[in-house]
Every structure is written in structure tokens, then in C-alpha cells.
């Protein structure tokens, strides 16, 4: 007689071992981005094409800076997990692992670069 229930044996045995959490994060970040992005597109679109001083002044203000920081963080986490899904569908074995690591790393590089820029503009 097995003492573990069927459910207990099944928990955590999805393809990625964390599929539900992954899917839930994509839903949460999608809703967050649905609110953030129209605002950010307006901020960025208005700043693009202006001179250096105007761009610095825009992103030195609290609201544009905070929205940009939030968009960077949430969108890059959303991208990393989305790219991971795509890679897992098309690649296998070590190639898959290498590509997933590369995608996640790229997302953090973009995030860090943006944060650095925002902090430097703010100071």
C-alpha cells in the first residue's frame, strides 16, 4: 500500500515543475503592464525627439521615473518568462538550458542598465 496520495505524487511534476506559478505570474504582470504601458508610451513618446536637457528634465521628475522603473522591472520579468516559454517549445537539452539562461540574463542586463540610467538622471 502506498502512503502518498495520488495528488501528493503529482504535485511539482509538471514539465517545468512550476508551470502554475509561471502562468499566474504572466497573468499578474500582464494586468500590471496593461495599466502601466499606455502611460509609459505617452511619457517616452513625448520625450523622444526632444533635446538632451528636456529629456533629462522629464526623467528627473518622480512620476516618469517611477513609471519607467516599474515598466522596466515588470516587462523584463514578463519577457524573461515569455521567452523561456518560447525556447522550451522549440529547443531541447543543453541548447534549451543555454538559451533560457541567456534570455533571463539579457532581461536583467536591460533592467539594470535602465535603473542605472534613471538613478544617474535623478541624482
Amino acid at each position: 500500500m502506498r502512503y502518498l496520495t495520488d495528488r501528493k505524487r503529482a504535485v511539482g511534476k509538471g514539465a517545468g515543475h512550476s508551470g502554475t506559478e509561471h502562468h499566474w505570474y504572466m497573468q499578474v504582470s500582464a494586468v500590471a503592464l496593461a495599466f502601466l504601458l499606455p502611460v509609459w508610451v505617452y511619457i517616452f513618446g513625448s520625450a523622444l525627439g526632444q533635446g538632451h536637457e528636456a529629456v533629462m528634465a522629464t526623467f528627473a521628475r518622480p512620476f516618469p521615473a517611477i513609471v519607467t522603473g516599474l515598466v522596466l522591472f515588470v516587462s523584463m520579468r514578463h519577457f524573461a518568462k515569455g521567452a523561456q516559454m518560447m525556447i522550451e517549445d522549440y529547443a531541447r537539452g543543453h541548447t534549451k538550458k543555454a538559451l533560457v539562461i541567456a534570455a533571463i540574463s539579457l532581461s536583467y542586463v536591460v533592467m539594470a542598465t535602465g535603473f542605472y540610467a534613471l538613478v544617474r538622471i535623478a541624482l
Binding site: 496593461a34 504601458l37 525627439g49 536591460v110 542598465t113 535602465g114 540610467a117
Partner: protein
């Protein structure tokens, strides 16, 4: 079918526009000279192309994402409604892209 794979292509493709935007922001933070270089690229025909395509990709992915949330709620899964939602994504994304170009 087409609208589904387009969601994936637009979502992952958006990393290109994001990288250009972040590089442009970084250059502004570093120095006026560096900004002149990045701004020249970002406002050139190449930059216009990347940001215009990114705007469309963003709005398409945005609408397709909302459609996904509707499907996940267990609604709109019958074929006529799903077809209509697909067209809404395609037409809506073009309309929103034009609006974006006009407004910003």
C-alpha cells in the same frame, strides 16, 4: 492560428525596441555627447522603423494578452467569438498604432 503565433513574435520582438529605448536613456544619463550619438540613431529612419514596428507589436501583444485573459476566464472560446476577437486584435492594433503616432 496566425493571431496566436503573432502574439509570440510581437512579444519576443519587443526586446529590440526596449533595448534601443534603454540605450537611448542610458546615453542621456551619461553625457550630452553620448546622447547626441544615441539620439541620432533613435530618431533616424532606422529608429523610426524600430519604434513604429515596436508600437504596433506592443499594441498587438497588448490586445492579444487581454484576449488571453478573457480565454483564461473561460469566456469567448466558441469559434465565432474567437474569430471576432482575433480580428479585434489585428484591426485594433493598427488603429492604436496610428493613434500613438498621431498623439505622441
Amino acid at each position: 492560428m496566425l493571431t496566436s503565433i503573432l502574439t509570440r513574435i510581437t512579444g519576443n520582438g519587443l526586446i529590440v525596441g526596449t533595448m534601443l529605448a534603454v540605450w537611448w536613456l542610458l546615453s542621456a544619463a551619461v553625457s550630452p555627447e553620448y546622447f547626441a550619438v544615441a539620439d541620432a540613431v533613435a530618431t533616424s529612419w532606422f529608429g523610426d522603423l524600430v519604434f513604429t514596428l515596436s508600437a504596433w507589436a506592443l499594441w498587438y501583444h497588448y490586445l492579444a494578452g487581454i484576449r488571453h485573459l478573457i480565454y483564461d476566464a473561460g469566456r469567448g472560446l466558441d469559434i465565432p467569438t474567437a474569430e471576432k476577437l482575433g480580428w479585434a486584435c489585428i484591426i485594433g492594433s493598427v488603429v492604436l498604432t496610428v493613434l500613438t503616432i498621431v498623439i505622441v
